[in-house]
Protein backbone atom coordinates (compact mmCIF):
# COMPACT_ATOMS: atom_id res chain seq x y z
CA UNK A 1 0.00 0.00 0.00
CA UNK A 2 1.51 3.27 -1.20
CA UNK A 3 0.97 5.16 2.07
CA UNK A 4 2.87 2.54 4.11
CA UNK A 5 6.67 2.86 3.93
CA UNK A 6 7.61 -0.62 5.12
CA UNK A 7 8.38 -3.78 3.24
CA UNK A 8 7.40 -7.15 4.70
CA UNK A 9 11.02 -7.92 5.50
CA UNK A 10 11.38 -4.62 7.34
CA UNK A 11 8.22 -5.35 9.29
CA UNK A 12 9.56 -8.72 10.33
CA UNK A 13 12.89 -7.24 11.35
CA UNK A 14 11.21 -4.62 13.50
CA UNK A 15 8.80 -7.13 15.00
CA UNK A 16 11.64 -9.35 16.20
CA UNK A 17 13.67 -6.38 17.42
CA UNK A 18 10.64 -5.30 19.46
CA UNK A 19 10.60 -8.71 21.12
CA UNK A 20 7.59 -10.31 19.41
CA UNK A 21 7.27 -13.56 17.50
CA UNK A 22 4.07 -12.87 15.60
CA UNK A 23 2.08 -9.83 14.53
CA UNK A 24 -0.89 -11.11 16.50
CA UNK A 25 1.10 -10.57 19.68
CA UNK A 26 1.04 -6.85 19.05
CA UNK A 27 -2.62 -6.94 20.00
CA UNK A 28 -2.50 -9.40 22.87
CA UNK A 29 -3.71 -6.70 25.24
CA UNK A 30 -7.06 -6.76 23.47
CA UNK A 31 -9.20 -9.62 24.81
CA UNK A 32 -9.67 -12.31 22.17
CA UNK A 33 -13.43 -11.85 22.13
CA UNK A 34 -13.08 -8.29 20.81
CA UNK A 35 -10.57 -8.86 18.05
CA UNK A 36 -12.13 -8.71 14.59
CA UNK A 37 -11.95 -12.07 12.88
CA UNK A 38 -13.00 -10.79 9.49
CA UNK A 39 -11.91 -7.96 7.20
CA UNK A 40 -13.82 -4.69 7.45
CA UNK A 41 -16.79 -4.62 5.10
CA UNK A 42 -15.87 -1.34 3.43
CA UNK A 43 -15.33 -0.30 -0.20
CA UNK A 44 -11.82 -0.27 -1.64
CA UNK A 45 -8.87 -0.42 -1.86
CA UNK A 46 -8.77 2.05 -4.75
CA UNK A 47 -5.81 3.31 -6.75
CA UNK A 48 -5.32 7.06 -7.17
CA UNK A 49 -6.94 6.88 -10.61
CA UNK A 50 -9.98 5.11 -9.21
CA UNK A 51 -10.36 7.56 -6.36
CA UNK A 52 -10.40 10.44 -8.82
CA UNK A 53 -12.93 8.60 -10.98
CA UNK A 54 -15.15 8.03 -7.97
CA UNK A 55 -15.25 11.70 -7.02
CA UNK A 56 -15.61 12.84 -10.61
CA UNK A 57 -18.67 10.61 -10.67
CA UNK A 58 -20.05 12.31 -7.55
CA UNK A 59 -19.23 15.75 -8.96
CA UNK A 60 -21.30 14.98 -12.04
CA UNK A 61 -24.31 14.35 -9.77
CA UNK A 62 -24.22 17.87 -8.32
CA UNK A 63 -24.90 21.35 -9.67
CA UNK A 64 -22.17 21.83 -12.23
CA UNK A 65 -23.26 24.07 -15.07
CA UNK A 66 -25.98 25.82 -13.05
CA UNK A 67 -26.00 29.54 -12.27
CA UNK A 68 -26.69 30.15 -8.61
CA UNK A 69 -28.27 33.14 -6.87
CA UNK A 70 -27.90 31.64 -3.42
CA UNK A 71 -26.32 33.44 -0.45
CA UNK A 72 -27.85 33.07 3.00
CA UNK A 73 -24.59 32.71 4.87
CA UNK A 74 -22.45 31.10 2.14
CA UNK A 75 -21.16 33.27 -0.72
CA UNK A 76 -19.69 32.68 -4.18
CA UNK A 77 -16.71 35.01 -4.58
CA UNK A 78 -13.62 34.71 -6.70
CA UNK A 79 -10.82 32.76 -5.04
CA UNK A 80 -7.31 33.53 -6.21
CA UNK A 81 -5.32 30.60 -7.62
CA UNK A 82 -2.25 32.20 -6.04
CA UNK A 83 -3.71 31.67 -2.60
CA UNK A 84 -4.52 28.06 -3.37
CA UNK A 85 -1.00 27.37 -4.60
CA UNK A 86 0.50 28.81 -1.41
CA UNK A 87 -1.96 26.94 0.81
CA UNK A 88 -0.90 23.63 -0.64
CA UNK A 89 2.73 24.06 0.38
CA UNK A 90 3.50 21.14 2.66
CA UNK A 91 4.82 23.49 5.35
CA UNK A 92 1.36 25.01 5.69
CA UNK A 93 -0.84 22.06 4.78
CA UNK A 94 0.84 19.32 6.78
CA UNK A 95 2.10 21.19 9.82
CA UNK A 96 0.77 20.86 13.34
CA UNK A 97 -0.67 23.36 15.82
CA UNK A 98 2.16 25.79 16.64
CA UNK A 99 2.75 24.71 20.25
CA UNK A 100 6.51 24.40 19.55
CA UNK A 101 7.04 27.98 18.54
CA UNK A 102 10.66 27.73 17.34
CA UNK A 103 9.65 25.52 14.41
CA UNK A 104 6.23 26.99 13.73
CA UNK A 105 7.04 30.66 13.13
CA UNK A 106 5.42 30.52 9.68
CA UNK A 107 2.06 29.51 11.09
CA UNK A 108 2.33 31.86 14.06
CA UNK A 109 3.23 34.92 12.04
CA UNK A 110 0.39 34.17 9.62
CA UNK A 111 -2.04 33.92 12.55
CA UNK A 112 -0.75 37.23 13.93
CA UNK A 113 -1.36 38.83 10.54
CA UNK A 114 -4.85 37.29 10.41
CA UNK A 115 -5.67 38.70 13.86
CA UNK A 116 -4.50 42.11 12.70
CA UNK A 117 -6.55 42.02 9.51
CA UNK A 118 -9.66 41.05 11.45
CA UNK A 119 -9.16 43.98 13.85
CA UNK A 120 -8.70 46.38 10.96
CA UNK A 121 -11.82 45.13 9.23
CA UNK A 122 -14.09 45.05 12.28
CA UNK A 123 -12.77 48.13 14.06
CA UNK A 124 -12.27 46.07 17.23
CA UNK A 125 -9.12 45.95 19.38
CA UNK A 126 -8.36 42.23 19.45
CA UNK A 127 -9.37 39.19 17.39
CA UNK A 128 -8.71 35.49 17.83
CA UNK A 129 -7.16 32.97 15.48
CA UNK A 130 -10.55 31.66 14.41
CA UNK A 131 -13.41 29.51 15.68
CA UNK A 132 -15.08 26.72 13.71
CA UNK A 133 -17.48 28.97 11.78
CA UNK A 134 -19.90 31.90 12.02
CA UNK A 135 -22.62 29.88 13.75
CA UNK A 136 -20.40 28.60 16.56
CA UNK A 137 -18.53 31.93 16.79
CA UNK A 138 -21.82 33.69 17.47
CA UNK A 139 -22.74 31.10 20.09
CA UNK A 140 -19.35 31.43 21.79
CA UNK A 141 -19.69 35.23 21.71
CA UNK A 142 -23.00 34.98 23.54
CA UNK A 143 -21.52 32.61 26.14
CA UNK A 144 -18.68 35.10 26.53
CA UNK A 145 -21.18 37.89 27.19
CA UNK A 146 -22.83 35.68 29.80
CA UNK A 147 -19.52 35.18 31.59
CA UNK A 148 -18.63 38.87 31.41
CA UNK A 149 -21.94 40.18 32.74
CA UNK A 150 -22.94 37.31 35.00
CA UNK A 151 -26.45 37.60 33.54
CA UNK A 152 -28.71 34.99 31.98
CA UNK A 153 -31.07 36.61 29.45
CA UNK A 154 -30.17 36.90 25.77
CA UNK A 155 -32.23 38.97 23.31
CA UNK A 156 -31.65 37.82 19.73
CA UNK A 157 -33.21 39.20 16.55
CA UNK A 158 -35.15 36.85 14.25
CA UNK A 159 -33.26 38.52 11.44
CA UNK A 160 -30.17 36.59 12.55
CA UNK A 161 -29.44 33.49 10.40
CA UNK A 162 -31.93 30.76 11.46
CA UNK A 163 -29.29 28.06 11.65
CA UNK A 164 -27.04 30.30 13.79
CA UNK A 165 -29.97 30.73 16.17
CA UNK A 166 -30.53 26.97 16.22
CA UNK A 167 -26.91 26.36 17.22
CA UNK A 168 -27.19 28.90 20.02
CA UNK A 169 -30.33 27.13 21.19
CA UNK A 170 -28.54 23.78 21.39
CA UNK A 171 -25.68 25.22 23.47
CA UNK A 172 -27.95 27.40 25.63
CA UNK A 173 -30.15 24.53 26.76
CA UNK A 174 -27.67 23.29 29.35
CA UNK A 175 -26.22 26.54 30.60
CA UNK A 176 -29.23 28.24 32.17
CA UNK A 177 -29.24 30.88 29.44
CA UNK A 178 -32.69 32.20 28.50
CA UNK A 179 -32.75 33.04 24.83
CA UNK A 180 -35.61 35.33 23.75
CA UNK A 181 -36.26 36.29 20.16
CA UNK A 182 -37.49 39.67 18.97
CA UNK A 183 -38.86 40.55 15.55
CA UNK A 184 -38.17 42.73 12.57
CA UNK A 185 -39.99 45.63 10.97
CA UNK A 186 -41.06 46.30 7.36
CA UNK A 187 -37.59 47.75 6.80
CA UNK A 188 -36.26 44.21 7.32
CA UNK A 189 -34.30 45.41 10.35
CA UNK A 190 -34.45 44.31 13.99
CA UNK A 191 -37.41 45.93 15.75
CA UNK A 192 -35.88 48.56 18.07
CA UNK A 193 -39.13 49.09 19.98
CA UNK A 194 -39.36 45.40 20.80
CA UNK A 195 -35.77 45.30 22.07
CA UNK A 196 -36.30 48.44 24.11
CA UNK A 197 -39.31 46.88 25.79
CA UNK A 198 -37.53 43.61 26.45
CA UNK A 199 -34.34 45.18 27.78
CA UNK A 200 -33.76 44.84 31.51
CA UNK A 201 -31.15 44.36 34.18
CA UNK A 202 -30.81 40.63 33.59
CA UNK A 203 -29.89 40.90 29.93
CA UNK A 204 -26.38 39.69 29.14
CA UNK A 205 -26.47 40.45 25.43
CA UNK A 206 -28.48 41.90 22.58
CA UNK A 207 -27.62 39.91 19.45
CA UNK A 208 -28.06 40.94 15.82
CA UNK A 209 -26.42 40.17 12.48
CA UNK A 210 -25.41 42.82 9.95
CA UNK A 211 -26.02 42.55 7.05
CA UNK A 212 -28.72 40.28 8.44
CA UNK A 213 -30.24 37.13 6.95
CA UNK A 214 -32.39 39.29 4.68
CA UNK A 215 -29.32 41.14 3.45
CA UNK A 216 -30.30 44.31 5.29
CA UNK A 217 -27.90 46.44 7.34
CA UNK A 218 -28.95 46.76 10.99
CA UNK A 219 -29.04 50.03 12.96
CA UNK A 220 -25.98 49.35 15.08
CA UNK A 221 -25.57 52.63 17.00
CA UNK A 222 -29.21 52.57 18.13
CA UNK A 223 -28.94 48.94 19.20
CA UNK A 224 -25.73 49.67 21.09
CA UNK A 225 -27.48 52.44 23.00
CA UNK A 226 -30.34 50.15 24.00
CA UNK A 227 -28.01 47.33 25.05
CA UNK A 228 -25.58 49.51 26.98
CA UNK A 229 -28.47 51.41 28.52
CA UNK A 230 -29.47 48.28 30.45
CA UNK A 231 -25.91 47.14 31.14
CA UNK A 232 -25.92 44.48 28.45
CA UNK A 233 -23.33 43.85 25.74
CA UNK A 234 -24.03 44.23 22.02
CA UNK A 235 -23.02 41.15 20.03
CA UNK A 236 -23.01 41.55 16.24
CA UNK A 237 -22.68 38.60 13.86
CA UNK A 238 -21.40 39.10 10.32
CA UNK A 239 -22.04 36.39 7.74
CA UNK A 240 -21.01 38.26 4.57
CA UNK A 241 -17.55 39.57 5.43
CA UNK A 242 -17.04 41.34 2.08
CA UNK A 243 -19.60 43.88 3.32
CA UNK A 244 -16.86 45.26 5.56
CA UNK A 245 -15.12 46.55 2.45
CA UNK A 246 -17.70 49.30 2.28
CA UNK A 247 -20.05 49.16 5.25
CA UNK A 248 -19.15 50.97 8.43
CA UNK A 249 -17.81 48.32 10.82
CA UNK A 250 -19.83 47.80 14.01
CA UNK A 251 -17.26 49.48 16.29
CA UNK A 252 -20.00 50.12 18.89
CA UNK A 253 -20.40 46.38 19.24
CA UNK A 254 -18.74 44.82 22.27
CA UNK A 255 -18.17 41.49 20.57
CA UNK A 256 -18.23 40.69 16.87
CA UNK A 257 -18.67 37.11 15.62
CA UNK A 258 -17.78 36.91 11.97
CA UNK A 259 -17.77 34.23 9.31
CA UNK A 260 -14.69 34.61 7.07
CA UNK A 261 -15.83 32.20 4.31
CA UNK A 262 -16.21 35.04 1.80
CA UNK A 263 -12.48 35.70 1.97
CA UNK A 264 -11.23 33.01 -0.35
CA UNK A 265 -12.87 29.88 1.07
CA UNK A 266 -14.90 27.69 -1.28
CA UNK A 267 -18.58 27.13 -0.42
CA UNK A 268 -17.71 23.43 -0.12
CA UNK A 269 -21.28 22.38 0.65
CA UNK A 270 -21.24 23.94 4.10
CA UNK A 271 -17.68 23.77 5.39
CA UNK A 272 -14.95 24.00 6.53
CA UNK A 273 -15.12 27.74 7.12
CA UNK A 274 -13.54 30.11 9.66
CA UNK A 275 -15.35 31.97 12.39
CA UNK A 276 -13.70 34.92 14.15
CA UNK A 277 -14.39 36.62 17.46
CA UNK A 278 -13.23 40.23 17.70
CA UNK A 279 -13.68 42.35 20.79
CA UNK A 280 -12.24 44.99 23.12
CA UNK A 281 -8.86 44.46 24.84
CA UNK A 282 -10.52 44.52 28.25
CA UNK A 283 -12.52 41.37 27.38
CA UNK A 284 -9.62 39.35 26.02
CA UNK A 285 -9.29 36.98 28.97
CA UNK A 286 -12.85 35.80 28.50
CA UNK A 287 -12.43 35.30 24.76
CA UNK A 288 -12.20 31.69 23.62
CA UNK A 289 -9.95 30.36 20.89
CA UNK A 290 -6.26 30.49 20.15
CA UNK A 291 -4.28 33.72 20.19
CA UNK A 292 -0.86 34.42 18.71
CA UNK A 293 1.18 37.08 20.46
CA UNK A 294 4.37 38.90 19.55
CA UNK A 295 7.44 38.50 21.74
CA UNK A 296 11.23 38.16 21.58
CA UNK A 297 13.75 35.40 22.17
CA UNK A 298 16.76 35.76 24.49
CA UNK A 299 18.70 37.49 21.72
CA UNK A 300 16.00 40.07 21.15
CA UNK A 301 14.80 38.60 17.84
CA UNK A 302 11.10 39.13 17.15
CA UNK A 303 9.01 35.99 17.17
CA UNK A 304 5.47 34.84 17.81
CA UNK A 305 3.93 32.40 20.31
CA UNK A 306 0.51 31.10 21.25
CA UNK A 307 -0.39 33.07 24.32
CA UNK A 308 -2.98 33.53 27.06
CA UNK A 309 -3.30 29.77 26.88
CA UNK A 310 -4.61 29.61 30.43
CA UNK A 311 -8.05 30.43 28.99
CA UNK A 312 -8.03 27.19 27.06
CA UNK A 313 -9.10 23.62 27.70
CA UNK A 314 -5.68 22.01 27.93
CA UNK A 315 -4.83 24.05 31.03
CA UNK A 316 -8.11 25.23 32.53
CA UNK A 317 -9.88 21.92 31.83
CA UNK A 318 -13.32 22.23 33.42
CA UNK A 319 -12.95 25.99 33.97
CA UNK A 320 -11.96 26.77 30.40
CA UNK A 321 -13.58 29.57 28.41
CA UNK A 322 -14.62 26.94 25.88
CA UNK A 323 -13.88 23.32 25.04
CA UNK A 324 -12.55 24.30 21.63
CA UNK A 325 -9.20 22.73 20.72
CA UNK A 326 -8.68 23.22 16.97
CA UNK A 327 -8.85 26.53 15.22
CA UNK A 328 -9.49 26.62 11.49
CA UNK A 329 -5.86 27.48 10.87
CA UNK A 330 -5.66 26.53 7.21
CA UNK A 331 -8.95 28.32 6.46
CA UNK A 332 -7.77 31.41 8.33
CA UNK A 333 -4.53 31.24 6.32
CA UNK A 334 -6.51 31.09 3.09
CA UNK A 335 -8.40 34.20 4.18
CA UNK A 336 -5.16 35.95 5.16
CA UNK A 337 -3.48 35.31 1.82
CA UNK A 338 -6.66 36.25 -0.03
CA UNK A 339 -6.98 39.55 1.83
CA UNK A 340 -3.31 40.41 1.29
CA UNK A 341 -3.78 39.89 -2.44
CA UNK A 342 -7.03 41.88 -2.56
CA UNK A 343 -5.53 44.65 -0.48
CA UNK A 344 -7.10 47.91 0.58
CA UNK A 345 -8.17 48.97 -2.90
CA UNK A 346 -9.21 45.53 -4.07
CA UNK A 347 -11.48 44.94 -1.11
CA UNK A 348 -13.14 48.33 -1.59
CA UNK A 349 -13.61 47.75 -5.30
CA UNK A 350 -14.98 44.25 -4.74
CA UNK A 351 -17.48 45.58 -2.21
CA UNK A 352 -18.52 48.39 -4.56
CA UNK A 353 -19.06 45.89 -7.37
CA UNK A 354 -21.26 43.77 -5.09
CA UNK A 355 -23.41 46.81 -4.27
CA UNK A 356 -23.63 47.78 -7.94
CA UNK A 357 -24.68 44.29 -9.04
CA UNK A 358 -27.29 44.06 -6.28
CA UNK A 359 -28.78 47.48 -7.05
CA UNK A 360 -28.93 46.60 -10.74
CA UNK A 361 -30.41 43.15 -10.17
CA UNK A 362 -33.07 44.43 -7.78
CA UNK A 363 -34.07 47.25 -10.13
CA UNK A 364 -34.31 44.80 -13.03
CA UNK A 365 -36.43 42.37 -10.99
CA UNK A 366 -38.77 45.19 -10.06
CA UNK A 367 -39.57 45.69 -13.75
CA UNK A 368 -41.43 42.35 -13.65
CA UNK A 369 -45.12 42.96 -12.96
CA UNK A 370 -46.04 42.03 -9.41
CA UNK A 371 -42.46 41.69 -8.20
CA UNK A 372 -41.18 44.16 -5.64
CA UNK A 373 -38.69 44.43 -2.79
CA UNK A 374 -39.99 42.93 0.47
CA UNK A 375 -38.04 45.24 2.79
CA UNK A 376 -37.15 48.90 2.62
CA UNK A 377 -33.85 48.85 4.51
CA UNK A 378 -30.39 49.29 2.91
CA UNK A 379 -28.86 46.11 1.44
CA UNK A 380 -25.34 45.02 0.50
CA UNK A 381 -25.35 42.09 -1.95
CA UNK A 382 -28.48 40.16 -1.11
CA UNK A 383 -32.09 41.19 -0.79
CA UNK A 384 -35.58 39.75 -0.41
CA UNK A 385 -38.11 40.05 -3.21
CA UNK A 386 -41.84 39.49 -2.93
CA UNK A 387 -43.43 37.52 -5.74
CA UNK A 388 -47.03 37.09 -6.81
CA UNK A 389 -46.61 33.32 -6.65
CA UNK A 390 -44.93 30.61 -4.62
CA UNK A 391 -41.18 30.90 -4.89
CA UNK A 392 -40.92 27.11 -5.03
CA UNK A 393 -42.91 27.05 -8.26
CA UNK A 394 -40.82 29.82 -9.79
CA UNK A 395 -37.64 28.01 -8.79
CA UNK A 396 -38.83 24.72 -10.29
CA UNK A 397 -39.29 26.49 -13.60
CA UNK A 398 -35.94 28.26 -13.37
CA UNK A 399 -34.18 24.95 -12.80
CA UNK A 400 -35.24 23.85 -16.28
CA UNK A 401 -33.00 26.65 -17.54
CA UNK A 402 -30.18 25.70 -15.23
CA UNK A 403 -30.75 28.58 -12.85
CA UNK A 404 -30.83 28.10 -9.09
CA UNK A 405 -33.14 30.96 -8.20
CA UNK A 406 -34.19 32.90 -5.10
CA UNK A 407 -34.23 30.95 -1.82
CA UNK A 408 -37.78 30.58 -0.57
CA UNK A 409 -37.97 32.01 2.95
CA UNK A 410 -41.09 30.12 3.99
CA UNK A 411 -39.07 27.20 5.34
CA UNK A 412 -37.40 29.47 7.93
CA UNK A 413 -40.03 32.22 8.34
CA UNK A 414 -43.54 30.78 8.00
CA UNK A 415 -45.02 34.28 7.71
CA UNK A 416 -42.80 35.15 4.75
CA UNK A 417 -44.46 33.12 2.03
CA UNK A 418 -43.93 34.14 -1.59
CA UNK A 419 -40.70 35.81 -0.60
CA UNK A 420 -37.29 34.78 -1.88
CA UNK A 421 -33.75 35.79 -1.00
CA UNK A 422 -31.57 36.74 -3.98
CA UNK A 423 -27.77 37.09 -3.77
CA UNK A 424 -25.48 38.52 -6.43
CA UNK A 425 -21.74 39.04 -6.12
CA UNK A 426 -18.93 40.40 -8.26
CA UNK A 427 -18.90 36.95 -9.94
CA UNK A 428 -22.49 37.30 -11.19
CA UNK A 429 -22.50 38.64 -14.76
CA UNK A 430 -24.98 41.08 -16.22
CA UNK A 431 -25.97 38.36 -18.63
CA UNK A 432 -26.81 35.99 -15.79
CA UNK A 433 -28.91 38.64 -14.08
CA UNK A 434 -30.77 39.25 -17.32
CA UNK A 435 -31.45 35.52 -17.71
CA UNK A 436 -32.76 35.38 -14.14
CA UNK A 437 -35.14 38.26 -14.76
CA UNK A 438 -36.35 36.78 -18.05
CA UNK A 439 -36.70 33.39 -16.44
CA UNK A 440 -38.84 34.68 -13.57
CA UNK A 441 -40.92 36.73 -15.96
CA UNK A 442 -41.57 33.61 -18.02
CA UNK A 443 -42.32 31.49 -14.97
CA UNK A 444 -44.90 33.99 -13.76
CA UNK A 445 -46.64 33.92 -17.12
CA UNK A 446 -47.18 30.15 -17.00
CA UNK A 447 -50.88 29.58 -16.32
CA UNK A 448 -51.44 28.22 -12.82
Amino acid sequence: MRYLPKSDSERLEMLHAAGFDSFDQLFQAIPEAFRLKRPLAVPGPLSEMEIIEYFRGRAAENSRGYTSFLGAGVYHHHRSVVADALLQRGEFLTSYTPYQAEISQGTLQAIFEFQTLMCQLTGQEVANASMYDGSTALTEAVLMAERLTGRQRVLIARSVHPEYRQVLGTYAKNTGLRVEEFGFTPSGQADLDQVRKAAGDQVAAVVVQSPNFFGVLEQIPALAEIAHGCGALLVVGIAEAVSLGIARPPADADIIAMEAQSFGLPPSYGGPYAGVIATKDKFVRQMPGRLAGQTTDHQGRRGFVLTLATREQHIRREKATSNICTNQALCALAATIHLCLLGKQGLREQAEQNVAKAQFARAQLETIPGVRRAFSGPVFNEFVMEFPRSVKMIDADLLKNKIIGPMALGRFYPELTKRGLVCVTETTTRDEITRLVEGIDRALKVPV
Binding site: R285, A309, T310, I315, R316, K319
Partner: protein, 132 residues
Protein backbone atom coordinates in the same frame (compact mmCIF):
# COMPACT_ATOMS: atom_id res chain seq x y z
CA UNK B 1 13.20 30.84 57.02
CA UNK B 2 9.44 31.41 56.81
CA UNK B 3 8.31 34.52 58.71
CA UNK B 4 7.05 33.69 62.17
CA UNK B 5 4.64 36.61 62.32
CA UNK B 6 1.98 34.74 60.41
CA UNK B 7 0.10 31.46 59.85
CA UNK B 8 0.03 29.10 56.88
CA UNK B 9 -2.38 26.79 55.09
CA UNK B 10 -1.92 23.42 53.38
CA UNK B 11 -2.70 25.15 50.07
CA UNK B 12 0.31 27.44 50.57
CA UNK B 13 -1.43 30.66 51.56
CA UNK B 14 -0.24 32.81 54.48
CA UNK B 15 -2.25 35.16 56.67
CA UNK B 16 -0.86 37.95 58.89
CA UNK B 17 -3.20 39.43 61.45
CA UNK B 18 -3.53 43.06 62.45
CA UNK B 19 -6.35 43.17 64.94
CA UNK B 20 -9.43 41.81 63.19
CA UNK B 21 -8.02 42.34 59.70
CA UNK B 22 -5.83 39.75 57.99
CA UNK B 23 -3.46 40.25 55.08
CA UNK B 24 -3.38 37.18 52.82
CA UNK B 25 -0.82 36.09 50.23
CA UNK B 26 0.79 32.99 48.76
CA UNK B 27 4.04 31.54 50.04
CA UNK B 28 7.46 31.43 48.49
CA UNK B 29 6.99 27.69 47.94
CA UNK B 30 3.83 28.35 45.94
CA UNK B 31 5.36 31.01 43.71
CA UNK B 32 8.32 28.77 43.04
CA UNK B 33 6.05 25.90 41.98
CA UNK B 34 4.05 28.16 39.71
CA UNK B 35 6.92 29.73 37.86
CA UNK B 36 6.74 33.22 36.38
CA UNK B 37 3.39 34.75 37.30
CA UNK B 38 1.67 36.48 34.40
CA UNK B 39 -1.77 37.34 35.76
CA UNK B 40 -3.67 37.58 39.03
CA UNK B 41 -7.43 37.54 39.41
CA UNK B 42 -8.73 39.00 42.65
CA UNK B 43 -12.24 39.36 44.11
CA UNK B 44 -14.27 42.54 44.37
CA UNK B 45 -14.10 44.64 47.52
CA UNK B 46 -16.96 43.66 49.79
CA UNK B 47 -17.04 40.06 48.58
CA UNK B 48 -17.82 37.60 51.35
CA UNK B 49 -15.71 34.43 51.46
CA UNK B 50 -15.70 31.32 53.59
CA UNK B 51 -12.61 29.58 54.92
CA UNK B 52 -11.37 27.09 52.33
CA UNK B 53 -13.29 28.79 49.50
CA UNK B 54 -11.43 29.95 46.39
CA UNK B 55 -11.28 33.73 46.06
CA UNK B 56 -9.14 34.14 42.98
CA UNK B 57 -6.43 32.71 40.75
CA UNK B 58 -2.76 33.16 40.07
CA UNK B 59 -1.65 32.28 36.56
CA UNK B 60 1.66 31.35 35.06
CA UNK B 61 2.15 30.70 31.36
CA UNK B 62 1.30 27.03 31.69
CA UNK B 63 -0.84 26.73 34.79
CA UNK B 64 -3.60 28.29 36.83
CA UNK B 65 -3.76 28.02 40.59
CA UNK B 66 -6.79 28.71 42.71
CA UNK B 67 -6.15 30.71 45.86
CA UNK B 68 -8.13 29.58 48.89
CA UNK B 69 -9.03 31.81 51.78
CA UNK B 70 -7.53 30.76 55.12
CA UNK B 71 -10.45 32.39 56.98
CA UNK B 72 -14.07 33.49 56.72
CA UNK B 73 -14.72 37.17 56.20
CA UNK B 74 -15.23 40.14 53.90
CA UNK B 75 -12.71 41.51 51.42
CA UNK B 76 -11.62 44.97 52.59
CA UNK B 77 -8.82 45.71 50.13
CA UNK B 78 -7.07 44.18 47.13
CA UNK B 79 -3.48 44.83 46.05
CA UNK B 80 -3.68 47.27 43.13
CA UNK B 81 0.01 46.82 42.24
CA UNK B 82 -0.53 43.27 40.97
CA UNK B 83 -2.66 44.38 38.01
CA UNK B 84 0.37 45.84 36.25
CA UNK B 85 3.15 43.98 37.98
CA UNK B 86 2.11 40.36 38.57
CA UNK B 87 5.81 39.45 38.69
CA UNK B 88 5.94 41.00 42.18
CA UNK B 89 4.50 37.69 43.40
CA UNK B 90 7.71 35.95 42.32
CA UNK B 91 9.91 38.72 43.72
CA UNK B 92 8.31 39.43 47.09
CA UNK B 93 5.51 36.94 47.87
CA UNK B 94 5.59 37.57 51.62
CA UNK B 95 5.73 41.36 51.47
CA UNK B 96 4.82 43.72 48.63
CA UNK B 97 2.84 41.06 46.75
CA UNK B 98 0.11 40.51 49.34
CA UNK B 99 -3.17 39.66 47.60
CA UNK B 100 -6.08 40.81 49.75
CA UNK B 101 -6.89 42.25 53.15
CA UNK B 102 -9.85 40.56 54.80
CA UNK B 103 -12.06 41.50 57.77
CA UNK B 104 -12.25 38.32 59.83
CA UNK B 105 -15.68 37.12 60.84
CA UNK B 106 -14.16 34.68 63.28
CA UNK B 107 -10.59 35.51 64.37
CA UNK B 108 -10.18 32.22 66.26
CA UNK B 109 -10.12 30.36 62.90
CA UNK B 110 -6.42 31.30 62.63
CA UNK B 111 -5.54 29.05 65.56
CA UNK B 112 -6.14 25.91 63.49
CA UNK B 113 -3.61 27.03 60.86
CA UNK B 114 0.07 26.01 60.81
CA UNK B 115 2.76 28.17 62.31
CA UNK B 116 6.07 28.78 60.49
CA UNK B 117 7.78 25.70 61.90
CA UNK B 118 4.88 23.41 61.09
CA UNK B 119 4.64 24.82 57.57
CA UNK B 120 8.39 24.38 57.08
CA UNK B 121 8.05 20.71 58.05
CA UNK B 122 5.02 20.30 55.83
CA UNK B 123 6.79 21.49 52.69
CA UNK B 124 9.88 19.47 53.54
CA UNK B 125 7.64 16.39 53.43
CA UNK B 126 6.14 17.50 50.13
CA UNK B 127 9.54 17.98 48.60
CA UNK B 128 10.55 14.50 49.66
CA UNK B 129 7.43 13.07 48.00
CA UNK B 130 8.00 14.65 44.61
CA UNK B 131 11.63 13.61 44.37
CA UNK B 132 10.86 10.02 45.38
Amino acid sequence: MYPTDRRYTKEHEWIKLDGATGTVGITDYAQHELGDVVFVELPKIGAKIAAGQSFGTVESVKAVSEIYSPVTGEVAETNAVLGNEPEKINQDPHGAAWLIKIKLANPSEVNSLMDAAAYQAYIAEKQKETSA
